[in-house]
Symmetry: C2
Subunit: 286 residues, 2 copies
């Protein structure tokens, strides 16, 4: 197999982890773009990629596969610059957490020039930035590839093979099915963890003093970057609201049962069903 | 310091971890009670304590400190047997997750015979039983000691020193203040994790297929033993309901904001407050 040239656009947790995972791997040549010159100096100092620069056309011009790893809000402007300068027919993907509107917008920018297919590797952290990047971030993680109706089949295969090479289990969802699914298992749970922290703070902040490992884990995600998560919640708000409404309804039912008879066997059933579902999850390695 | 004789009543996760933490430690002699002869054989096979038996009077009769580590429902009957056979003035504690009614009940059983003081080490796991026991389970964990108004001061000091010897950070709450605090940071969060799993199962079980590390951690506690948790929720139901009602109200507020304007800066504020609180937590080691 010939060498695949990968351009990584954005040196944060995900972009940095892709570069670390590919460093020294035969079959790959990497280039990485960062907006700030100081970030490029840092990338060069740790020799994370074959080439690092603030000049986007130079980073992407020879690339076979371009991976957008910036915050979602920055992607369209970068995509326009890439569409004007990258190799015709190059494959482009992104790592944004919400796919519906983004896939439409990026797909239109690259149409007739490059071949765009969205991705979402389920491999975040409450830490962000290059310092949190890890070569094994993707090992065992699920990566959702989200082709649109008109996506190029070969490009979908290229993007899927790329994530598999990084150790991901790849699955395919349409952009809208992806957004509904991740609202339930990522976006709304983030909001729920934040809600729990804010409820404890208002009800009885002294309770924070007796936290055990359960509360540590239940609330971990709420340590993530608020700006990024506010953007995610805003762009997937209808699916998040559906999860929120269903949760309010379910909590109301349970509250009524507890009020009527705290020993009602329905509570044990509820916990047993939840445990059965939890035990059946295919989870990423800790 | 003379040797302290510790009787551990119940060889599950907590009792087993206490025995493992004390094994070979100078200054301690341990005995452990299990209900089933097969469990005693297992305890002897791994030489977890100086003495192991199904005969409760023999296990507790020389003890300076007796630690009740069985499920809460089994404690009163065992306490009556201990009250009839242990050394007068011996100190007794327990590890139950709800303290209010239990402290009253156990306190009455031991009154005038032994000196009872409740404890709650915040060091659980979603795993249970002796196989999950670890010598370092208590290292860095908070242990709440819950004296009643009439508790013996020296006994409170003995119990506190015991948990500190196991590596705990000890704090004191009244039994009712304990129950309110742990409803917020343990009991209700458990119910919330179970609710989230049941909501996802009903709304779109396919979403379970794309779980990342966030969902793994957010729902971890829901893997715990349903019987134990149903008992905990039943015995602390009014404080759990207060947390549940506050959470429904808060989710309703956030849902309204999202419905009106998903980009409302109030969402970013909400997430920022939650992150500030999360970052300030003193957490047990991972």
């Amino acid at each position: 197999m010939s060498t695949q040239r990968i351009a990584i656009v954005g040196p944060g947790l995900l972009g940095g982890s892709i570069a670390l995972a590919l460093r020294g791997r035969p079959g790959f040549k990497t280039a990485i773009w960062a907006r700030r010159p100081e970030a490029v100096e840092e990338l060069k100092a740790i020799a994370i990629a074959g080439y690092a620069a603030t000049n986007l056309p130079r980073v992407v011009r020879d690339a076979d596969l371009i991976v957008l790893c910036t915050p979602v809000g920055a992607m369209p402007a970068l995509a326009r610059e890439i569409a004007a300068t990258a190799k015709p027919g190059a494959v482009v993907t992104d790592v944004g957490s919400v796919k519906g509107a983004l896939v439409v917008e990026l797909g239109a920018i690259f149409a007739g020039k490059m071949r765009f297919v969205g991705s979402h590797p389920m491999a975040g952290s409450d830490q962000s930035g290059l310092r949190a990047a890890r070569a094994d971030l993707f090992a065992g993680a699920v990566c959702v590839v989200t082709p649109a109706a008109d996506s190029d089949t070969a490009a979908v295969a290229t993007v899927s093979a790329f994530w598999e090479a990084l150790g991901c289990q790849v699955c395919q969802f349409s952009p809208s099915a992806h957004d509904e699914a991740v609202a339930l298992i990522s976006h709304f749970p983030h909001l729920l963890a934040a809600t729990l922290l804010n409820v404890v703070a208002e009800q009885n902040a002294e309770a924070f003093g007796v936290c055990g490992p359960g509360f540590r884990d239940t609330t971990r995600v709420a340590g993530g970057a608020p700006e990024m998560w506010a953007e995610i919640l805003a762009s997937n708000s209808s699916a998040v609201r559906a999860a929120l409404d269903a949760t309010i309804a379910k909590l109301g039912e349970i509250g009524n049962i507890l009020a009527r008879d705290p020993s009602d066997p329905a509570i044990l059933d509820f916990l047993t069903h939840a445990k059965t579902r939890r035990d059946a999850l295919r989870l990423p390695p800790s």
